[in-house]
């Protein structure tokens, strides 16, 4: 009987000592965790794409909570996320317009030729490294879909030999921009629809030879534009999106129809 009592007492004492020890260390070594950090982290999309420049959403949340990043630093979440985070941080967020990726090539199989002699690994970067002739156009989309492979949202499809971004799915993380060895993909403001869909910097006749849908640098679009938003440099038209009013006049006039028309046109 005695041993039972002693055992119970000793275990109880050990339990109390251990419990007190835990409480003591819990108080003594309490680390202040910034509650805003976890709240901010909740708002972020959580796909850890790294488009903000930080190592994933956790790192961005820590940076925002510490004041090292602005509340609208997440390009994927865009305005809704920025507003939520702004509420947590007690700031009003200026809306950042979301961006989507756009592949500036229109060279599908029916407009350009693909007499390439490349038979290696089906990967754009390998194809470019090989130095072999893959597409006639030295600037065009190779169509092996290295961009589609890196896309975390499965938003890129290779259709008819040209990569295309599904706008609805694209979050604008920019991973495909880095993946394209020919630098065809750019991030454009999500509201902008009028985009030059070519990257060929050759002179008109040479472009004509390799692709019937390529920009020939005729400058008709420049003359059409009322807001000074489209210019031809290096034989290639490009649009300054901040000036562009999406009127679509350049797209109408383009002889090779390489400028995408505005929605509803």
């Amino acid at each position: 009987m005695q041993i039972i009592i002693i055992t119970t007492l000793v275990i109880a004492v050990i339990g109390i000592v251990v419990g007190a020890g835990l409480v003591f260390t819990g108080k003594k070594f309490h680390v202040d965790v910034d509650e805003r950090e976890s709240a901010v982290r909740e708002c972020l999309p959580g796909n850890n794409c790294g488009a903000c420049g930080f190592a994933g959403c956790d790192a961005l949340a820590a940076a925002i909570a510490a004041g090292n990043a602005s509340v609208n630093a997440c390009p994927v979440g865009g305005a809704p996320v920025a507003q939520k985070i702004g509420k947590i941080m007690g700031q009003t967020a200026e809306a950042v317009e979301g961006k989507v990726a756009f592949v500036r090539c229109k060279g599908s199989c029916d407009v350009t030729h693909n007499q390439g002699n490349y038979v290696g690994i089906k990967d754009c970067r390998s194809a470019v490294l090989s130095g072999l002739n893959v597409t006639d156009c030295a600037y065009g989309c190779l169509g092996f879909g290295s961009c589609a492979a890196v896309c975390p949202q499965d938003a890129i499809r290779v259709v008819d030999g040209v990569a295309m971004v599904v706008r609805k799915k694209c979050v604008g993380c920019g991973l495909c921009v880095k993946a394209c060895p020919r630098g065809l993909i750019e991030l454009v403001p999500a509201s902008k629809r009028v985009i030059v869909q070519c990257s060929n910097k050759d002179r008109g006749p040479q472009v004509k030879k390799v692709c019937s849908a390529g920009c020939i640098g005729c400058m008709l679009c420049t003359r059409q534009c009322e807001s000074d938003a489209i210019h031809v440099t290096n034989n290639l038209a490009s649009i300054q999106y901040e000036n562009c009013t999406q009127c679509g006049k350049c797209a109408e006039k383009c002889p090779v129809k390489v400028i995408t028309p505005p929605p509803g046109a």
């Binding site: 000793v10 275990i11 835990l22 260390t25 070594f29 680390v31």
Partner: protein, 192 residues
């Protein structure tokens, strides 16, 4: 001094906690997918087992044995080790965030690792004193780390290989672990 070195070698190789005594199998198989994670877990295990065997030894020598409470050692050790890991975790979090980041998620995992309890009980069983217990704990934990790092490196190699379909995944890992265990049986021929 010689006997202490022998205790470490015995704990690490001859009586390897995983491959010879089959303790701590859960984390051995669970966390051995990647080299880095398994090495971190190994570090955390060395840390915890060394401290736990020291505390368990003190507790046994000065509380349990004098009071004739030998039969309660399992329960007391569980209680104390669980609390100890928590305290160590809080301590690390405050004092060295770097170490905490490296070992952090593995520390609570180790709380319930039977290898920790196993070492504390084996020390008592073998009649080790305080110093011997600490060395034995350290040696055993090194043995655990060795085993898990070896298995992790084998698994990274296996992943690249063309393995017959029925054996893919867990079966081939268990077979590898069994072969490692047989290999480690070779050490039992060591006698000092």
């Amino acid at each position: 001094m010689k006997s202490l070195i022998l205790i470490i070698i015995t704990g690490a190789l001859i009586n390897n906690v995983v491959l010879n005594q089959f303790l701590g199998i859960c984390s051995f198989l669970g966390v051995s997918k990647q080299m880095k994670a398994s090495a971190s877990l190994g570090g955390a295990v060395i840390f915890v087992i060394t401290i736990a065997s020291a505390v368990a030894s003190l507790l046994y020598d000065y509380v349990l044995a004098p009071l004739g409470m030998d039969f309660m050692k399992t329960i007391v050790f569980i209680l104390v080790i669980a609390a100890l890991v928590q305290i160590v975790e809080m301590f690390l979090k405050k004092t060295s965030p770097g170490v905490y980041k490296a070992l952090g998620i593995y520390l609570p995992l180790i709380t319930t690792n039977c290898a920790v309890l196993g070492v504390a009980l084996t020390n008592v069983q073998d009649g080790y004193n305080f110093i011997e217990s600490v060395f034995s704990g350290f040696g055993t934990a090194v043995g655990f780390t060795l085993a898990i790092v070896l298995l992790a490196s084998i698994r990274t190699r296996i992943r690249e290989e063309d393995i017959p379909a029925p054996l893919r995944g867990a079966p081939i890992v268990l077979i590898s672990a069994a072969l490692m265990s047989i290999a480690f049986m070779g050490f039992s021929g060591l006698s000092f």
